[in-house]
Symmetry: C2
Subunit: 142 residues, 2 copies
């Protein structure tokens, strides 16, 4: 268990009005989605994932009201579940704001959110279905 | 010259009120800055860079008014200068909005910005001072 973050990033989530429309836009530029459901599209970007998330669902997940389609969240996936709470606590101690305490997630993991001093949101998450290699790159397949 | 983007990302820029304060915050969490001046701090994150950019300067660079300290921009560095304009054109053709046409940058490169259909800003940049490896990871030292 550690409260230190490794220098790496796991996801970038963009709030969008219509994930299917956004997928078409990004695929026109050369990216390829690896997963899609009604609310989210995942696009692997070489060791991190670009997530296009329906903004109403994103608001609910982040516990923010009306962040809107322009909202952005960065996510750091931990290597173990018991790293999530200490990192959230360290962020608050360093001057951040707790947006959502760590809790069990619908998708089978455990996650919470903090905001940095300017309000930028970070999700700290443990996702047992994704792997993280030695260099810190995430992969969506266990 | 190509208008296709490889599936990779080069920078994530967070607008901040005070880059020095933000550096202290992120270093308390475990990250380490590799470069700092009065307006920007660069934190390498394993092949991409987290940039903490004074929001007034960021507004000017993106040609957006009052995006504020909560603004975020993603950046994709091209391998050649002549890729920048075709990618900006492809983004507009796909339904994006041109924020800033490609132009010579103070830092010695060439860059422009588009916004995706929800307003998320992307900088498309050629930076001759940074290298990009075969896997698409950027490095700040040539």
């Amino acid at each position: 268990m550690t409260a230190r973050m490794e220098p790496r990033l796991s996801l970038i989530t963009l709030g969008v009005a219509d994930p299917a429309r956004s997928r078409v836009f990004y695929e026109a530029l050369g990216f390829s989605a690896a997963f899609e459901n009604a609310d989210v599209v995942f696009i692997p970007l070489g060791g991190l994932v670009l997530s296009l998330f329906r903004s109403s669902e994103m608001d609910a997940d982040m516990k923010r009201q009306n962040a809107g389609p322009g909202a952005v969240a960065l996510a750091y996936n931990t290597r173990a579940e018991d790293e999530v709470d200490p990192i959230l606590a360290a962020a608050v101690k360093a001057g951040g704001t707790l947006l959502k305490p760590g809790k069990r997630a619908e998708w089978g993991g455990y996650s919470g959110y903090f905001a940095d001093p300017d309000g930028h949101a970070w999700e700290i998450a443990f996702n047992p279905a994704w792997s993280i290699d030695a260099e810190g790159r995430v992969s969506m397949n266990g």
